[in-house]
């Protein structure tokens, strides 16, 4: 009897404790896939840092809305215009304050840009600016001129990537990010959790979520289990296998495009017919709903369909093994060494089933007569094959990779992937270089048209690579909150967008 009572008591204590690790009413817990070891605002374009920092702690001058398709919106800048060629004038909010109580002004913007671009710190932002140099001039407390050399027509869009810190922030990476956002960082237990708390003196509308705790779990089933057990509210990334509850699980385009980069300088890949044959050999439909989730979309460009200038007229190469064989035979007759073994280079853990997907592709290539070999590398080794300078003495390579662009403009992809000097370009085509330069320099309709033309040219005329799929990710959301993951969830998670049911 005594034993029974003890057991009952223990169980009651346990269930009381269980409710203690469930959530407080307006507090939420977000479970991320890896430890966030830096919360430096200038690194906020890195996805997990962005999910914590971007627009929650640190805001940007402008904001790109992909959720409601509103395009570029004001944030810390109320409006902007091109004051003179290459120079943009931003009119700043007057009522914003940093979480340390100091007022936000043009000096902070100046310092933030200089800091992010400094060579004394390795921020992420400069990569979006390429060779563009920025100069800032404070006009008055609430007005700043930013001059880009060469002129940058999408400078206001690029400003969505520069987080604003107070002018007093030192150049080195900070561990105490101060921002103008609706939340401030209140606790950071290294390796365990990061907590943001709602600010009372935020300039905008007060969000519903009062406190957000971010925890890190490497195992996808544990992340899913945490939401199921009520210990967490959002797991932005779970595996397709764990996404088995229609009430809690969402699939969303994760802005990644999976493709195989072809090295056009090495035979037989220097022959267009061979590149076409590779594209025709693949039964893309066979992957969707089997090795890859149902929501994956066949790709015709390296950027997802939500991007400016995306071209709906470009059609995916049809699955045509006979046609591929014919093209290969023609190429062979012209002396192209089509029997040279081609190495497919993949990255381990790039996405679920990556090995199986590449093995299936390999099988399809071999069925039409290619000789292939599959080589999987971990990320550092893979990187050596993926970025220039490419290894000396390499044979023909198909480098299978994912490229992420949720930024709304192909400029973040096209130079790197297709310009002759692009670090991950497999081609050197003066016509392509010219088209990239033109589209990059253009604005409005002309810019969209430029990208549209380039997308068609790369796909149909150059047959630059084997484009495969726009991928989907899976997220689990606790039914007590009202939040739908979108393509933006891959890089930010605005707490102010979360409501309670």
């Amino acid at each position: 009897m005594k034993g029974k009572r003890l057991l009952l008591g223990l169980m009651m204590t346990a269930s009381a404790a269980a409710s203690a690790w469930a959530q407080e009413a307006k507090d939420i817990t977000v479970v991320l896939d890896e430890e966030v070891d830096l919360v430096e605002p200038c690194m906020a374009t890195r996805s997990n840092i962005g999910r914590i920092i971007l627009q929650n702690v640190s805001e940007t001058l402008t904001e790109l809305d992909v959720r409601n398709n509103k395009g570029l919106m004001p944030r810390l800048a109320e409006s902007w215009e091109e004051a003179s060629p290459g120079t943009w004038r931003f009119h700043l909010r007057k009522d914003a304050k940093f979480s340390d109580g100091s007022a936000f002004d043009a000096g902070d913007v100046k310092h933030s840009i200089e800091r992010a671009m400094s060579d004394k710190i390795s921020c992420e932002s400069p990569r979006y600016f390429g060779d563009t140099k920025l100069e800032t001039k404070v006009v008055d407390d609430n007005t700043i001129d930013i001059t880009a050399t060469p002129a940058q027509p999408i400078l206001p869009l690029l400003m969505t990537l520069v987080t604003i810190v107070p002018a007093e922030t030192p150049i080195e990476f900070t561990r105490e990010p101060i921002g103008t956002g609706p939340y401030k960082l209140t606790e950071w237990k290294a390796g365990q959790s990061i907590t943001l708390t709602r600010r009372d003196d935020y300039w905008g509308t007060a969000p519903e979520v009062t406190k957000a705790t971010y925890v890190f779990r490497a195992d996808p089933s544990v992340r899913a289990a945490m939401v199921a057990a009520g210990e967490a509210d959002i797991a932005p990334l779970i595996s397709e296998l764990d996404a088995n509850d229609a009430e809690m699980d969402f699939s969303y385009p994760n802005s990644e495009t999976f493709y195989m980069r072809l090295d056009h300088s090495i035979p037989p890949l220097n022959d267009k017919r061979v590149r076409q044959a590779l594209n025709m050999a693949l039964d893309r439909d066979a992957f969707i709903g089997t090795l890859l989730p149902k929501g994956a979309i066949k790709a015709t460009a390296i950027v997802p369909p939500t991007t400016l200038g995306w071209n709906p007229d470009v059609k995916v190469a049809p699955y045509d093994p006979e046609g591929a064989k014919k093209l290969l035979a023609e190429a062979k007759a012209d002396g192209v060494p089509v029997e040279t073994p081609i190495t497919i280079v993949g990255r381990t853990n790039n996405f679920p089933n990556v090995v199986e997907v590449l093995e299936a592709a390999q099988q399809m290539f071999e069925e039409v007569g290619f000789k292939t070999k599959l080589q999987m590398y971990e990320v550092a080794e893979f990187e050596k094959q993926y970025s220039k300078p490419y290894p000396e003495g390499r044979g023909p390579l198909l480098v299978a990779a994912q490229h992420d662009n949720a930024r709304g403009d192909p400029v973040f992809s096209m130079y790197f992937k297709y310009d002759s000097n692009g670090r991950q370009s497999g081609i050197a085509n003066p016509e392509v270089d010219k088209m990239i330069a033109e589209a990059t320099a253009a604005t409005g309709e002309k810019r969209a048209a430029g990208w549209k033309k380039l997308i068609a040219y790369l796909h149909d005329d150059v047959v630059a690579d084997v484009l495969l799929f726009h991928m989907v990710g899976f997220a689990r959301v606790n039914p007590r909150i009202d939040f739908t993951p979108t393509i933006a969830t891959n890089s930010q998670l605005q707490l102010s967008e979360i409501r309670f049911k």
């Binding site: 346990a14 269980a18 690790w21 430890e35 390795s122 990569r127 561990r175 290294a190 990187e383």
Partner: protein
């Protein structure tokens, strides 16, 4: 005894130095942290800047010289990833690992000795057969599987303990339980075997003939002699745990040194790798020293 210990300390110091030198050069051969820290489309200029900033452009031997000089001044460098002192990062994680290892090994040892001794007392009996089967299953089941099943059963279905993380005493139950299983099976088998041998030995027979009671035979006469092989296995298991329990740490989101070490290797965060190796090597060395002392205490022949 003192002389022997001193010799041990000196030889361990040289092993540690050799280990650090080896790891320093081997880790630097594995690749460039710049390519991993910076985004995949970073420009060459950004890569060069990063290498310059972290002294990776200097010749290897110069980097090594600087490292040794800094370590002699107790500066273990900064973590590239975390932008804070590497030793601080490592000690933080190591504290977690140490707690996890101490709790688990204490539980394992206490339970394995008790149950193993009882099982050995009547070899082939029902209890003995049951214990052997359970320990065999325990020693062979994979950690990650037990961990996931544990979460599904005890966290999701029953809601008794949290799935993962740290914070309350309840958070320790699943990780300790998972970590417990394998060494428990192993140590229990050693205790049982060792006790069986002891029970069959001449001095136990003599004691029995003299009419000494069972309890006294187990706890006074046998246990002490049977403990020597057990201490060796407990020591091995504890050393393995001090090195970090990667699977358990990864699944339960426990910020231990095992996961830190694996992550740092994958990220080529050299200073953290080196600091972690130094800290765990010293811990394992101290543990071995404690085992030597325990040996000496139990076996007077070793106290010379």
């Amino acid at each position: 005894m003192g002389k022997k210990m001193m010799r041990r300390v000196v030889s361990s110091f040289f092993s540690l130095v050799a280990l650090v030198v080896m790891v320093f050069f081997l880790s630097r051969l594995t690749g460039d942290p710049a390519a991993l820290f910076l985004p995949i489309d970073a420009t060459q200029e950004m890569l060069d800047q990063f290498r310059e900033l972290h002294g990776l452009n200097d010749p290897l031997i110069q980097q090594f010289g600087r490292y040794v000089w800094d370590v002699l001044h107790l500066d273990f460098g900064d973590s590239i990833r975390k932008a804070r002192p590497a030793i601080e990062v490592v000690l933080e994680s190591f504290t977690w690992t140490l707690q996890l290892a101490l709790i688990t090994i204490a539980l394992v040892t206490a339970l394995a000795i008790t149950i193993g001794s009882v099982a050995a007392f009547r070899p082939g009996g029902l209890f003995d057969r049951f214990v052997s089967l359970v320990s065999l299953i325990g020693a062979s089941a994979p950690d990650f599987w037990i961990a996931i099943v544990g979460i599904v059963v005890f966290s999701i279905t029953l809601g008794w303990v949290p799935t993962s993380g740290t914070g309350t005493v309840w958070h320790w139950i699943l990780p300790v339980a998972v970590l417990f299983i394998r060494p428990f099976g192993l140590i229990l088998q050693v205790v049982r075997g060792s006790m069986l041998t002891a029970f069959g030995s001449a001095y136990v027979k003599t004691a029995r003939a003299k009419g000494v009671g069972n309890r006294s035979i187990i706890f006074v006469h046998t246990l002490r002699n049977a403990m020597l092989p057990v201490i060796t296995v407990v020591g091995d298991q504890a050393a393995a745990m001090l090195n970090g329990a990667v699977v358990v740490e990864t699944i339960f989101g426990f910020p231990g040194v095992g996961k830190l070490m694996i992550d740092s290797i994958l990220q080529r965060d050299f200073n953290v790798i080196l600091a972690a190796i130094m800290v765990t090597a010293i811990a394992i060395f101290v543990m071995n020293l404690l085992i030597d002392i325990a040996y000496a205490l139990l076996d007077p022949r070793l106290r010379t």
